[in-house]
Amino acid sequence: MRLGRAARITLGAVTALILVVIYLPLLVVLANSFSTSTSLSWPPPGFTLEWWGRAFQSAGALDAVGTSVAVAVVATAVALVLGTLISLALQRFAFFGRDAISLLVVLPIALPGIITGIALNNFFRTILGVPLSIWTVVIAHATFCIVTVFNNVIARLRRLGVNLEEASADLGAGVWTTFRLVTFPQLRSALLAGGLLAFALSFDEIIVTTFTAGSGVTTLPIFILNNMFRPNQAPIVAVIAVVLVVVSIVPIYLAQRLSGSEQTRR
């Protein structure tokens, strides 16, 4: 849209300012990762590379990243399956209770994490009597990740319509073949976008995780929470945060590219 010059400049300036504010604390984190202060004090009293070296040798940190990735991957996979099924059902059929189900999907993300956390904690331990473990974390995460997949997929389905599926049936393909060869490939980038968001949500979740993680299950946020209390560990956490932010460019960029190329294909 063509705006007046003043409006353009104002908007651009506001955007730039917000971005500065977004990145300011991250710069502080970056600075801390090189700071000789162990307590994230400002301004950094000195420069050191010690934390970077230690971070990459910290088995605990690396384990925690591994655990977080594992949890996020499984939770995302479950969310992808369930979210896709539910969006197919809600988008392709009209039935009684449809609104209730769409509300049900939104609920786990709309209710504060601490409620989901204590509800599941109580449910697993007290009601079912299963000990908390990595699987209880996965179940909890998958539950609130469904919605991101659901929203992405249902939006895509809405846009796709049923034409392509009808064309496939018309050419002789059965229900399953149609899904495999036509519907699924069309959903792929929506699944990617939803999956990425689900992964990010799970990866950074602390509250629900606190209540559903068994002993010895240390996801990255839990590791960070624990290490914030430890002497000499805070700067290592800063290093991890910096690395994660930088590494995250790759999946975000890829997702952007994929959905971008999809747009030009449309």
Binding site: M1, G4, A7, R8, L11, G12, V14, T15, I18, L19, I22, Y23, P25, L26, V28, L40, W42, V81, L82, L85, I86, L88, A89, F93, F95, I101, S102, L104, V106, P108, I109, A110, L111, P112, G113, I114, I115, I118, A119, L120, N122, F123, I146, V147, N151, G174, V175, W176, T177, A200, D204, I206, P221, A241, L244, V247, S248, I252, Y253, Q256
Partner: protein
């Protein structure tokens, strides 16, 4: 050319295989198809989530042995009454809702210009860069960012350093700091749906408005905002609900303040009083349900 030898006969449709019979059956019976689609997710959501939630709420009507900390199934309204009448809970609820509302308003005010710039002003390249720039901080852990704000907001932090020459001071730790930090933490979650919503507003509508004499501000107010409204509401669901349940950020930058999340957390994590915690949890549940009921008709839930 070998093609000359191929007989051009219609290839038979692969009839009567089990899969095909299944397909035919499913095509003729949409209700069965629906049932198959819904079975697994509904089982998951209802059995895992709804049952757990209902059981938690039921617990609110139980009681806890004050010494051993074991839950006893003695039906009582005490917890509910405590929560409804206790001055502590009223104060904290008001404070929490206030913080959540402030965070939501701030986030929407910040998200609108940046989302608008991304969706409607920036070229495709800049747009892509901006999306990445907005998404990237999501990957720096929540805790790390909260601690970073603790550092920024402290008495000799960057903010003080920046503001002092202007004769201003950092707000220090407290509710203001909590609001600032929460706004920061949830901002990307608010920007994304609004950005997506604005992208869906056809450019031609903005052009039509300016064509009819609407200046930039008027176009924003009369055309952009109403059309992006469902997306804005979707964004507020994130910021509002996430703020409503938070207890970690307020611990880090909130100074001496506590919010509903702290009360729930103290009661379940510390005092080991799950029934009371469940009763307190009812407050945000009721608030969120009320909010969802309010915004449902705007179509916001489709924009999350």
């Amino acid at each position: 050319m070998t093609s000359a030898h191929t007989t051009r006969r219609a290839p038979a449709l692969p009839r009567a295989s089990a899969a095909r019979r299944g397909s035919a059956f499913l095509t003729a019976h949409p209700r069965v198809r629906l049932g198959l689609l819904l079975a697994a997710p509904l089982f998951w959501l209802v059995v895992v989530y709804i049952v757990a939630l209902v059981l938690l709420l039921v617990t609110a009507f139980w009681t806890v042995d004050s010494f051993t900390g074991e839950i006893r199934i003695d039906w009582t309204l005490d917890n509910i009454v405590t929560v409804l009448t206790g001055a502590l809970y009223q104060t904290v609820t008001l404070r929490t809702v206030g913080v959540a509302a402030a965070v939501t308003v701030i986030d929407v005010l910040l998200a609108l210009p940046i989302a608008f710039f991304m969706a409607k002003v920036a070229g495709p390249r800049l747009q892509r860069i901006l999306v990445i720039a907005v998404l990237m901080p999501l990957w720096a852990s929540y805790l790390v960012k909260a601690y970073a704000w603790r550092s920024v907001l402290s008495q000799d932090g960057i903010l003080e350093w920046l503001l002092a020459p202007l004769g201003l001071h950092t707000p220090g730790y407290g509710l203001t700091a909590t609001i600032i930090t929460l706004s920061y933490l949830w901002l990307p979650y608010v920007i994304l749906p609004i950005y997506a919503g604005l992208e869906r507003v056809p450019d031609s509508l903005l052009e039509a408005s300016s064509d009819l004499g609407g200046r930039t501000w008027r176009t924003m107010r009369s055309v952009v905002l109403p059309l992006a409204f469902p997306a804005i509401v979707a964004g507020t669901i994130f910021s509002f609900s996430l703020s409503l349940g938070d207890y970690i950020t307020v611990n880090i930058v909130g100074g001496a303040s506590q919010m509903l999340g702290n009360l729930v957390y103290t009661n379940v994590g510390a005092a080991n009083n799950l029934p009371l915690a469940a009763a307190i949890a009812l407050i945000p549940i009721v608030i969120i349900f009320g909010y969802l009921a309010l915004v449902r008709r705007t179509g916001a839930l489709d924009n999350l």
